[in-house]
């Protein structure tokens, strides 16, 4: 039973990290109907930024909590700046182009950013400083759930609650929902749609950066290519839950995380990705719009 619970909790941890990244995919898709393939790289840049900040600060001997907070904020800001800029130079000029054009531009951006970090930093795996200590109070259950899993679960829950409140109650949140539903009408009530799009990229990028920090300190190493697989997985999760739907992205991520965790634990870690993507195929066969996605109705 302990083993089952252990797998369940590690699945939740994995799923909540996917969710932080998947939210960026689904929010951007909801607003401009684009799969932002460079989003995985934004996450990777978040991990690198927090790596650099955390390493420097730990050399100066700052307390761990201060390092985590400063590194997290720095990563969120830096990744947001990248997300904002990517939208401005690679997607905005193509707003009226056929849908394939921005998609190709997104893939190009993804490749560019990977290689940029490869050249600017290194191709080696870098050891990420251990930012989350083993808490003493966790000792009795340490064989089931690690301290960093706990921190990840708590942190992602807090971030997601904050996001929900933002979208539900703030002015920018309402503007985002309105823009996602009906862009023309959003313009007609006086919403600056360009600004809403920028805000969406900034929020999605900040979430991915926080995911980058958490997973990097959990796994303990990073390199320039980590964004690729994480991006594909999070994208899968977003599609699984119904792309464009925010609760869908979270649900899809948790299901994906749990599936992978159980597949790894009971079958073999070699089959982790096989199970993840088989699940995607199955769900798409029976419910093409994803679990919570809306079936697209075409008006004739």
């Amino acid at each position: 039973m302990d083993y089952f619970i252990e797998l369940f909790l590690s699945g939740l941890t994995r799923g909540s990290i996917y969710a932080l990244i998947a939210l960026g995919y689904t929010m951007v898709y909801g607003i401009i109907g684009l799969i932002n393939f460079a989003h995985g790289e934004i996450y990777m840049i978040g991990a690198f930024t927090s790596f650099i900040v955390a390493t420097v600060l730990s050399i100066y001997g700052f307390p761990l909590l201060a390092i985590v907070i400063v590194a997290g904020v720095a990563a969120a800001i830096w990744s947001s700046a990248y997300g904002y800029t990517v939208e401005k130079i690679a997607y905005k000029p193509l707003r009226r182009a056929p849908r394939l054009a921005p998609l190709i531009s997104a893939i190009g951006m993804s490749i560019f950013l990977q290689n940029y970090v490869l050249l600017a930093q290194t191709s080696d795996f870098l050891p990420f400083p251990e930012l989350i200590p083993e808490f003493a109070f966790m000792e009795p259950v340490a064989h089931i759930i690690g301290s960093s899993d706990l921190v990840i679960l708590v942190a992602t829950t807090v971030v997601m609650l904050a996001l929900t409140l933002l979208i539900k109650f703030t002015k920018i949140g309402k503007a985002m929902r309105a823009t996602a539903q009906d862009k023309t009408m959003a313009l007609l009530v006086g919403i600056n749609v360009d600004r809403v799009i920028s805000a969406t990229f900034i929020i999605g990028s900040a979430l991915a950066a926080i995911g980058g920090l958490l997973i990097a300190s959990h796994i303990g190493q990073i390199n320039f290519a980590i964004g690729f697989l994480a991006g594909i997985k999070a994208f899968t999760a977003a599609v699984l839950g119904g792309i464009g739907s925010i609760p869908g992205a979270v649900l899809g991520s948790l299901i994906l995380g749990l599936t992978e965790s159980f597949a790894t634990g009971y079958v073999s870690s070699d089959y982790e990705d096989v199970f993840a993507f088989s699940l995607l195929v199955l769900i798409l066969i029976f419910k093409p719009s994803g679990l919570l996605g809306k079936a697209e109705t075409k008006k004739v």
């Binding site: 002015k171 309402k174 503007a175 929902r177 309105a178 539903q181 009906d182 023309t184 009408m185 959003a186 313009l187 007609l188 009530v189 006086g190 919403i191 600056n192």
Partner: protein, 235 residues
């Protein structure tokens, strides 16, 4: 209040509006009538800044507004209720109305206006927490007009407010349009296929055919004009 001077617009290679010139004085109800595809909605979308003008000028109180972003035009007091109402279906009635006052910051005034539209359409107050998409067609039209009123517009552009509504509802909507014009001195530019109703409440009218204004006169005269009667009133 609003002047269109020699407006041309284009959809791809198709010329939509050709040399459209019209003017609307403050406090008037002006109607633009014409057949399907004549360019009525395009005229409104050009005023709101959604459809770009290829040439010509749009003057709002003497200031050129063509080429401005749509949100700037709303901020200058021009609001549109588009054809098909465009309710934010997943947002509640209340949230739809909140979005109407998106650019306003005067909390007290917003609250007053909210009470005003709820008194105008009590059914909306009853359904304030319901998603906009669950309302009936008539209720959606009320919501769309209320949402526009929440911006406290000086010029209200209405695109086919009677479309798809029951006759009794149409009558009510037109009475409310008249009331908005009287009580708030809101200038109204009304686009309608239902020429009969529109001309009855309007001061003046324009007739548009194939993207060109072909006739303009006072509403009374248009109602008795043989050509208009034959083409648009079905008499």
């Amino acid at each position: 209040m609003l002047e269109l001077q020699h407006i041309h617009t284009q959809y791809g290679n198709i010329q939509a509006l050709q040399d459209v010139t019209l003017n609307i004085e403050a406090g008037e109800i002006i109607t633009l009538i014409g057949a399907n595809g004549a360019g009525k909605s395009t005229t409104l979308m050009a005023i709101s800044g959604i459809v770009p003008c290829r040439s010509g000028k749009i003057l709002l109180k003497g200031e050129e507004i063509q080429g401005l972003a749509p949100d700037r035009i709303v901020a200058m007091g021009v609001c549109q209720v588009p054809e098909g109402r465009h309710i934010f279906a997943d947002l509640s009635v209340q949230e739809n109305l909140d979005l109407g006052s998106f650019l306003r910051t005067d909390k007290v005034g917003i609250k007053q206006d909210l009470e005003y539209v709820y008194s105008l359409f009590p059914i909306l107050a009853e359904r304030r927490h319901q998603p906009g998409g669950t309302l009936s067609g008539g209720e959606q039209q009320m919501l769309a007009m209320s949402r526009a009123l929440m911006a406290r517009p000086q010029l209200l552009l209405l695109d086919e407010p009677s479309m798809g509504l029951a006759p009794l509802m149409i009558k009510q909507i037109f009475e409310i349009i008249k009331a908005i014009n009287k009580e708030h001195k809101t200038t109204i530019f009304l686009v309608e296929q239902n020429a009969h109703q529109a001309l009855h409440i309007a001061d003046r009218g324009y007739v548009i055919e194939n993207g060109r204004i072909v006739l303009t006169d006072s509403a009374d005269k248009l109602l008795t004009n043989p050509g208009v009667r034959k083409a648009y009133l079905g008499i």
